[in-house]
């Protein structure tokens, strides 16, 4: 069952180019270091709004962003990862947290209702009803016939309207890629307490391809390349949330840290220097973004 290597083929990382692997890692870095800056800003009360942190689940969006960047994108409440990896502007997300008019939604929406409609990215967030983005994604695909990716969690997978919308997508053969970010927690209630079934079995019953996999980015990429001409389809990705459902707190250490596992893999492939350079570069740019002195300036606006 759920583990860090679930359905991860041996040696899968070596099937992809070095450049692509490093691009994925760079995107993962972006999310992690953006959120490290955000966490500091929250602890120091420069940011006073709630944050739904993506740390721990970066690999999924980072991998998908290299493959399906041109899809219509529908996200859930925990969406910093999708936003940053698919090309959302980090400064605008920071400004949203600061409640500034230069934020993604002029500071009116916040962490869990992220949207971005620039640089060719069409990304809609939800408004707090867990899984409401699933029928919306299906409706968007119905209206436009465009390929659409919809991110939701294992909790959302239990919403009745999520099932119904998946069934509708299957009936109408709509090009929707359902991506379930399965961190095994609804707030803190584990999946096994909540249900006895798997969302992949539901999807298969609707007649669409579906697979459970760990959040290994190369495996996700591989599966996506297999599925993206056979939509609708679903992947359920086992992942570990590093922080609380909302806020910067932590409980027990996560079962695995995919960021470190990806680093280890890249080092084993001989890319230690490259990833060190990438990490340094991203860390510096995020430290500049969240620089305490610079933060004072926008806060005074």
């Amino acid at each position: 069952m759920r583990n860090q290597n679930y359905n991860v083929p041996s040696g899968i990382s070596s099937q992809f180019s070095v450049n692509l692997s490093l691009e994925i890692f760079k995107k993962m870095c972006l999310v992690r270091y953006f959120e490290l800056g955000l966490i500091d800003a929250i602890k120091e009360k420069q940011v006073n709004y709630q944050a739904y942190l993506s740390t721990g689940q970066e690999a999924i969006a980072a991998a998908l962003a290299t493959e399906i960047r041109d899809y219509l994108v529908f996200t859930q409440h925990r969406a910093h990862d999708v936003y940053l990896t698919f090309g959302g502007n980090p400064k605008m997300l920071r400004d949203e947290f600061l409640g500034l008019p230069t934020g993604t939604s002029q500071g009116k929406a916040g962490s869990n209702c992220l949207q971005f409609h620039q640089n060719g990215l069409v990304m809609f967030g939800h408004h707090g009803f867990i899984g409401e983005n699933v029928p919306q994604a299906v409706g968007a695909a119905l209206a436009t016939k465009k390929k659409t990716v919809c991110f939701f969690g294992d909790g959302a997978a239990e919403e009745d309207y999520v099932f119904s919308a998946m069934g509708f997508a299957a009936t109408h053969k709509l090009p929707v890629y359902f991506v379930c970010i399965d961190n095994d927690l609804s707030i803190l209630t584990p999946t096994k307490v909540r249900r006895s079934w798997k969302i992949t079995d539901i999807a298969k019953a609707f007649g669409m391809p579906a697979i459970d996999i760990a959040d290994d980015p190369w495996t996700i990429l591989h599966q996506t390349q297999e599925l993206n001409n056979n939509l609708p389809a679903l992947i359920n990705c086992y992942v570990c949330r590093a922080h609380w459902h909302v806020g910067v707190g932590v409980d027990d250490p996560p079962e695995w840290d995919r960021y470190q596992l990806v680093k280890n893999e890249l080092i084993s492939l001989g890319h230690e220097h490259s990833i060190s350079d990438i990490e340094k570069q991203v860390r510096q740019s995020m430290e500049t973004l969240w620089d305490k002195k610079l933060l004072l300036k926008p806060l005074k606006q």
């Binding site: 993604t104 939604s105 002029q106 009116k108 929406a109 209702c113 949207q115 409609h117 809609f124 939800h126 408004h127 707090g128 009803f129 409401e132 699933v134 029928p135 919306q136 994604a137 299906v138 409706g139 968007a140 695909a141 119905l142 209206a143 436009t144 009745d160 309207y161 999520v162 099932f163 119904s164 919308a165 069934g167 509708f168 009936t171």
Partner: protein, 299 residues
Amino acid sequence: MGQETVAETIKAITRKHLEENNSLLLGQCISAVGWVNGTVPDCQGIIELPMTDIAGAGIAVGAAMMGIRPIFVVRFQDFMTLNGSPFINYAAKSKELHGRSTPVFIRALASEGIGPVHSGVLHSMFMHFPGFLVCSPMTPKEYKNVWQVFMEKDDPVFVSEHRLSFQSTEELLDVMHEHADITLYAISASRFQLAEVANELGKEGITCNIVHIVWLKPFDILDRYLEPLTRSKRGLIIDASFEICGAARSIAYELEQASGYPVKALGLQDNTKCLCPPFQNKFPDAKKICESVRKILST
């Protein structure tokens, strides 16, 4: 008086929109029984939703987010308690939150006398939430105007229809008197009762101004509303939805504040609309309205 019924008007508007603008109409059981009282054409763009009330509305919202201005049909307004959430939580908020509108035309049909789950009139509920335009057209011309507003603006519009209007070809006009005893303002199907009310009360020497209300939100305090009230010095708002926290009381408050004259409200009692008389809790008919007017004028 025109020749086209309200139902035919809705059907013609819909056909034009679906065929010329490549839009969609989404709803449950659209084609099976009478094409929703003859209001839906058999043409391209009709999406038969499965019996998935919340997801169905969410799919309509998703289509609206793509800017195609879909029409969503719910055959009985009672079902809006299920279908409402995607509209309330997303469509109505998106413009204010993100500067991105979600225009969708929500056709919610009301009925009378067919029991506790098919006779509801719920427009008051949608007036409560920011972000909706709410209206209740009862004539062909009003429906055309409402559609024009929807196409010119970018908001979700809640259209509180009533089956009692569908076969009507009549335009309902305001009636003003120089020395009226009271001004009656009516909403939804109650509007069809006003001519009889004026006639009955006229026999008793009571003169009524009659004012028709189509737009519930935003509710602009028009001269057409205030001017007769300042002369009659008494007003009554009549609506086919529940009176408590309802459109009639809300508008009565607005007009009373604006005019300084007392304005009462008359809507449904705080009871379930049951199946059979005398428990139907029907919308205010001529008899009820007359009783209410007599009571107001006697105090």
